[in-house]
């Protein structure tokens, strides 16, 4: 069995070829991308050690993204479910409404350091694109966002934001017209433009360096939460469970980062189970999908016998991705995290229950999947168990979808 190393950051536990556990990740890219990726690797290695850069990052995290985001107890939900105590890390209060802001800011800062003035990125739910264009506006970078035509349709509020920040949105009409195709198209674009342009991958997927930068950025979540947990409990609780939705896996990676070495902290990842009865789950870890290569990295991928990526279906655009971060493949294989899934229906129900009970927490459909799992397990657990759910997205972007689904009349 694959072993985790204690005391080594998760993002650095790969081998010299960029593989975690000897097989997840890597740089399965066209030769044309070798150079810009090496350049990026070198820059990131330098910047991680650069105090000025870290200060700059922290300045924007604090003043622009608004760190730390709140850590609150969900009293009503806890009472309602009558078991474990449920807490919530309200990451949706990061500027823009989701954790994607951290990665976007870091990539924009790196882009400037690389002396590049153009940045491009993929987006599914539109958050990665919204945040990237938001940061690009602030840092005076030209910005191009690749987004599946289906996602443009269903996440129109985020599309509006991108336009208002002056980003150039490229609708991707190939394949399933969702995130997987947007990432492909973005990589094609970068293959052509990498001399002048930087690319931001919107989650902990893609070639190793992108996985690393993204998880390094979202690690802010657990860095600040660790302090909040200790403030609240005086110590790390004896029995704590951290529940996070997993699409690409950037939110979960950041939420868990500081806790990997704490064996008493259970890590639970929730993938998208899709509509009840559908087979088009976006849940490669839960359903033991075969290993494959997607977007430059080896990972578990939803695919047919012929290596063709299969279409997935989820009410949540942000989780609608057939692959999953090498980091999570690694954590699963090492037995460190457990992965499960929630259906569309369960997610919607969880959204309702949480909103009605807790007001201030209004999770988007992605974290509603995480809440669904919390709601499932909390009643079976003791009051000494602490569940923390990462509410990593705000429901505003999903208002149309949810309202239709629930038959709200206006």
């Amino acid at each position: 069995m694959i072993q985790l190393q204690k005391g080594v950051p998760l993002i650095d536990q790969h081998d010299e070829n960029g593989y975690w556990g000897g097989k997840f990740g890597g740089n399965q890219i066209a030769e044309s991308l070798n150079h810009p990726i090496e350049e990026l690797e070198n820059e990131f290695k330098k910047l991680r050690q650069d105090d000025t850069f870290i200060k700059e990052r922290d300045y924007y995290f604090k003043n622009f993204i608004g760190a730390p985001t709140p850590f609150i107890k969900l009293e009503n939900l806890t009472k309602h479910l009558g078991g474990a105590q449920i807490y919530c890390k309200l990451v949706s209060k990061a500027t823009g409404g989701a954790h994607k802001a951290y990665n976007a800011v870091v990539h924009s800062l790196i882009c400037r350091r690389l002396g590049k003035t153009y940045i491009g990125g993929d987006t599914g739910a539109g958050y990665a694109g919204k945040m990237l264009s938001m940061a690009a506006a602030k840092f005076n970078l030209k910005c191009k966002i690749f987004m599946g035509a289906k996602d443009i349709e269903r996440q129109s509020i985020n599309v509006f934001s991108m336009r208002s920040y002056g980003a150039d949105i490229v609708p991707v009409n190939s394949g399933s017209q969702t995130l997987v195709d947007a990432v492909s198209e973005c990589m094609r674009w970068w293959t052509s433009e990498n001399e002048d342009a930087h690319m931001c991958v919107g989650s902990t997927v893609g070639p190793t360096i992108f996985v690393k930068i993204c998880a390094w950025s979202t690690a802010q979540i657990s860095r600040e939460m660790k302090k909040q947990v200790i403030d609240e409990f005086g110590e790390v609780p004896r029995d704590m469970k951290l529940i996070n939705c997993v699409g690409g896996g950037s939110s979960a990676a950041g939420f868990w980062n500081e806790w990997i070495d704490y064996d008493n902290v259970e890590l639970i990842g929730v993938e998208a189970g899709g509509p009840e009865g559908s087979k088009k789950h976006a849940a490669p870890l839960t359903n033991d999908s075969p290993l494959g290569v997607l977007h430059g990295a080896t990972q578990y991928v939803i695919q047919d016998n012929d290596g063709e990526i299969e279409e997935t279906e989820s009410i949540s655009a942000g989780l609608d991705y057939p692959g999953v971060s090498p980091l999570h493949c690694f954590l699963k294989e090492a037995g460190r995290a457990r992965y499960t899934s929630a259906t569309d229906e369960e997610a919607i129900e969880a959204f309702q229950l949480v909103s009605k009970n807790e007001g201030f927490v209004s999770p988007s459909l992605e974290p509603s999947h995480a809440f669904a799992e919390a709601i499932k397990i909390a009643p079976t657990l003791s009051k000494d168990t602490i569940i923390v759910v990462d509410s990593c997205g705000d429901s505003a972007k999903d208002s149309k979808i949810i309202a239709e689904r629930l038959g709200y009349k206006t």
Binding site: I29, E31, V180, T191, G292, H295, Q303, D306, G307, I309
Partner: protein, 268 residues
């Protein structure tokens, strides 16, 4: 053995004092039988080596024309085995070498050993894998060698000299130079001279290896490369297939005549 015949095809062209002509089309586009017919027409039209795409949906190295071809093949239900069938049928009647161009996931999901066995059965001479760069591909490239199949390493304008040397050192006797930073089928954005300069550097570092030049070459520019080892035209042909289908013409015939035109231009 096929890796030998492949190298010989280049030598033969060289002997005739000309660059070898390679074509790229997607196996199974628009279906199994027409795809085979296309290969036959190409063969008749003076091609030296045929590159056959084993299409992959997440083909991140390819531009629109090849994406369209791939989409047509895949949505027509073409599987990896079908592509092997086409190649085998073609090879049963032709001496012309066939190289498979594909993505790593196609090989991985098929199983490396099984894939190579199938290559041998179908008389495939070489493999190009877009997203399997050096040095990650070394184990597989060794396996290819053991199966007498040429694994064709890729080089590009930003492959620096140190890396160039290392790759060439590990490379089999044929390599592929990506002429510019882009996906397939984009307009040539560097001058032919710059490409030829890089080509000559590669030849200087490794005079024995044959080097295919690809990406962005069309009938209009192909003549610039007559003094090189070989060039490949792909997107232009895939586009021709799309056009023919749109106009309800016979793609094989049209591709064939385009290949003749390319061959003429290359050697004029």
């Amino acid at each position: 053995m096929s890796s030998e015949t492949l190298y010989k095809s280049f030598v033969n062209a060289e002997k005739e004092n000309r660059a070898a002509l390679l074509t790229y089309t997607v196996g199974g586009d628009p279906n199994k039988s027409i795809s085979l017919e296309i290969f036959r027409e190409i063969a008749k039209s003076g091609v030296d080596i045929i590159e056959c795409g084993l299409g992959h949906g997440a083909n991140i190295g390819d531009g629109g024309a090849i994406q369209d071809s791939t989409y047509r093949a895949l949505s027509g239900g073409i599987k990896t085995d079908d592509v092997f069938d086409i190649i085998k049928d073609f090879k049963d009647e032709s001496e012309i070498d066939v190289i498979i161009m594909t993505y790593q996931n196609k090989i991985m999901s098929y199983g490396e050993e099984k894939f190579l066995e199938k290559c041998r059965e179908s008389q495939v001479s070489g493999i190009i894998c877009v997203d399997w760069p050096w040095p990650l591909n070394l184990k597989f490239s060794d396996k290819c060698k053991k199966n007498s199949i040429t694994f064709i390493q890729l080089l590009c304008p930003t492959t620096n000299e140190e890396r160039l040397n290392k790759i060439l050192n590990d490379a089999h006797d044929v390599v592929y130079y990506i002429s510019m930073l882009s996906t397939t089928g984009q307009k040539l954005k560097v001058s032919s001279n710059e490409i030829i300069e890089r080509f000559q550097l590669i030849k200087k570092l490794s005079p024995e290896k044959k080097c295919i030049i690809g990406f962005g070459i069309t009938a209009d520019t192909i003549n610039d490369f007559k003094k090189t080892d070989a060039c490949v035209v792909g997107s232009a042909l895939c586009r021709e297939i799309s056009n023919s289908i749109d106009k309800e013409l016979n793609p094989a015939i049209n591709v064939g005549s385009m290949v003749r035109h390319l061959k003429d231009n290359l050697n004029s």
